[in-house]
């Protein structure tokens, strides 16, 4: 049998949020307004070859009266489960207590109970009736304390809940990272012995899926960098005058296309992490805001000093190849000269944007061309924005409903965390991109950055 979990509790205590986070599905209706969940909603979650079901249920509305009804229909403990079954089958109860019937039906059908409370608000005795009803169902159960606003009352909740539930866990549905989500899934295996293996496989599949997402996100980033750094627009015309007139048109088209390509990569990343309803607020590339304000590039990418270091490292690495070819006869002049030249060009070229060029064609006429972007900072700007989004998506849960805004991020710290060899390789690949050369090992050098 597929493991199934009914998420139950008071209205508005984060049941739907827990379902959205564990299913990694942002299409679940979540609202600050209570009563959003009117009917039990089953989600079959398939990860690779493993699967489990999460059932989002309406909140309790009249637990005290329901418990009263049940007590009238069971004289002893052995009759309690039967009384609950009778309750959900009774048409009159269906009319009087529609929410309770709806939430108890999947539990009687075999689903384990995930009872959710808010750990940021004080415990109240009014919860006891519903916990007692759940105990009457005889199903495996676990309590999840969801600290919606803070963790102030977690201890008092733990004391109360441990009297009704064997397993009590704290789980913040809006902030739980992937590891925390997996640890909760693993805890589910404690509920029923026959679910241990399926849940273990499920966790393994989730981890494998996560690893695939990571690998794929590197590929999307490599594609973004390669495409955007080599992108150019051109138009063939008859005269030089016509070519000159085309400059503003081509320039506009050039920056527009760059922006679209970046958005496409960001959308692909969003889809990869299953965020289908998330709006990304992103300050467009600085190119679109102010074409000649490369100071903004300094904010989004590397500053002049960092650029100088990066270019020097990449240039020195290139020069070192010459030294190696000469078996050291050059007294490392290749590395030194390469470093100096590259560093100097990075310092003085930090303000440079995409060039506009007009060239004559062999068969007559002219070609007007805008791009590609040769600024050394450009790939770093793209890299930083992508890494920021990637990290934000990884740390986000599917229960959040706010927009995501791409901020500046801190690329230099990420780069500082790399070892010397990784830094050198990264800068070398970035330099190749800014020179429109093939960056063969791009994915490999991006891996430690994306994976960090």
């Amino acid at each position: 049998m597929t493991p199934a979990f009914a998420v139950v509790g008071h209205p508005n205590k984060g049941k739907s949020s827990i379902v959205a986070t564990l299913a990694q599905d942002d299409s679940i209706a979540i609202s600050a307004q209570s009563g959003t969940t009117r009917v039990a909603e089953t989600l079959q979650v398939e990860v690779g070859s493993s699967r489990f079901a999460l059932i989002d249920t309406p909140g309790f509305q009249r637990p005290a009266r329901v418990l009263q009804w049940l007590e009238q229909h069971a004289d002893s403990a052995e009759q309690r489960q039967g009384a609950v079954r009778k309750f959900i089958e009774d048409p009159e109860c269906g009319q009087q207590f529609p929410d309770e019937v709806e939430l108890l039906r999947p539990i009687i059908g075999g689903a384990a109970i995930l009872y959710v409370v808010d750990g940021s608000r004080p415990y109240g005795s009014e919860y006891e009736a519903e916990m007692e009803i759940l105990r009457w169902t005889g199903q495996a159960s676990m309590a999840l304390i969801n600290p919606i606003a803070n963790e102030q009352y977690i201890t008092s909740w733990q004391h109360a809940l441990s009297q009704y539930f064997k397993v009590v866990k704290v789980f913040n549905a809006v902030q739980a990272d992937f590891e925390k989500q997996m640890s909760i899934l693993e805890a589910f295996s404690m509920l029923r012995e026959d679910w241990q293996q399926p849940i273990k496989s499920l966790v393994g599949e989730y981890q494998e899926h996560r690893s695939q997402q990571q690998t794929q996100s590197i590929k999307i980033l490599a594609g973004l960098l390669s495409d955007m750094c080599s992108y150019q627009v051109s138009q063939k015309v008859l005269s030089k005058g016509q070519a000159k007139q085309l400059q503003p048109v081509l320039e506009k088209q050039f920056y527009k296309q760059l922006g679209q390509r970046e958005r496409k990569a960001h959308e692909a990343l969003k889809d990869l992490y299953h965020y289908h309803n998330l709006d990304i607020e992103s300050a467009d590339l600085p190119t679109e805001e102010n074409l000649f304000d490369t100071e903004k590039w300094i904010i989004w990418g590397l500053n002049r000093r960092q650029l100088l270091i990066a270019a020097t490292m990449a240039g020195a690495a290139t020069g070192a190849v010459v030294d190696l070819g000469l078996a050291g006869q050059s007294l490392f002049m290749g590395a030194i000269t390469g470093g100096l030249i590259a560093g100097g060009s990075a310092w003085f070229g930090a303000d440079r944007l995409a060039d506009f060029k007009i060239s004559g064609l062999p068969m007559g006429g002219y070609e007007a061309r805008q791009g590609p972007m040769k600024n050394r900072n450009f790939p770093y700007v793209l890299l930083n924005r992508y890494l920021f989004l990637h990290q934000a998506l990884q740390q986000r849960t599917h229960a959040r409903r706010d927009n995501l805004r791409i901020e500046e991020g801190d690329l230099s710290t990420r780069i500082d965390d790399l070892n010397a060899e990784q830094k050198k390789s990264l800068h070398r690949q970035m330099e190749k991109l800014s020179q429109q050369k093939t960056a063969e090992t791009l994915e490999a050098v991006l891996e430690p950055l994306v994976g960090s």
Partner: protein, 373 residues
Amino acid sequence: MRQFSIVLGALGLLAGFVIAISVLSGDSQGRVNLLYLLLLFVFLPVGSLLLSGVFLARKSSRGLAGWLLELPLWPTRVRQEALALVPGVERKYWLFYQTQLASLAFAVGGLIAFLLLLVGTDISFVWRSTLLQATDLLPLLQVLAIPWAFWGDAQPSLALLQQSQDFRLATPELTAAQLGQWWKYAFAAQVTYMVLPRAAMALLARSVYLSRQNVAEVTKSRKVVHVDSLNAVPMQGQLAPLVTKNRLNYLLIDWGSVPMVLAEALFDRIGKPGDVMRAGPLSKVDPGKFQRSESTAIIVAVKAWEPPMGELQDYLHSLPIEKNTEKLLLPLDWDNGGLRPVKDSDLQEWRRFCGTLGNWSVLTPGTSSGDSP
């Protein structure tokens, strides 16, 4: 991208057809040099197949399709779609796949040309060489014929080889029909070394390309199926009015189990009640058994953070209250430090709830964080 595949395939087919026709047409007497045929049907395909393998192994290779895509012949859309593929991953394998398709089309074009010429003309297969003898050539032809060893008629023989050696100044001993016997060998060689390996390579390239389309693959490997219809966010109901002052003559019903320590602070704000009645879902007190005069207002204190539930709704409906009695619901929020302002979202929730009851208002005696009716 489909357009690119079709054009590339058509070009390959045409090239294969034209080249095969030109080689198989032979000289003015229709004599085709068997060695040229071997070059076209065996050595060239095998050599290009090996090259394909080398290209695939190289990290940044683009292959024939990559070079053709660079030509300014293609519509912008085709180039953009190809560029949208992830480089080094999808794009490289897509280009490789396209190259294999074009090569397969080339092989098929050559085969079609050969079959057409066999039907429509008389081809005499001869071979010429200054240095090689029939005995030198036979072992090579026999090795090449191993894959179709089951087809006896298509195997080379020393006698046929010797008899089909051509010298421009001498007349061959065999008739044209006998010289045509080589067609079976040529056909088998073409299928074995040109068509089949290319078809296999194209299939391999396709499967590699498909396996590299990872975005879709990764996304599909995790699926969420909504078995039931989705719950939609309900429409905003009618909001009950907010009241900031209450009558001094009132009965307080404590539904929210307000701690006694907060009583003084609460009464400072709303005045001291005429009477206090403990209620709540677990209370056994009959709501019909309280005493009050008609002019006495009713204030029901609730925990602001707990959403209104059916039990409270049932209780409020069961209260024996006259129509003109002032009925107020008082959401209170507190922690260990005492009373604190009610959150706007909680207040809205209670106003929506009171809006469904009729004639109930929400009392906010200066504790709200700021909301207006």
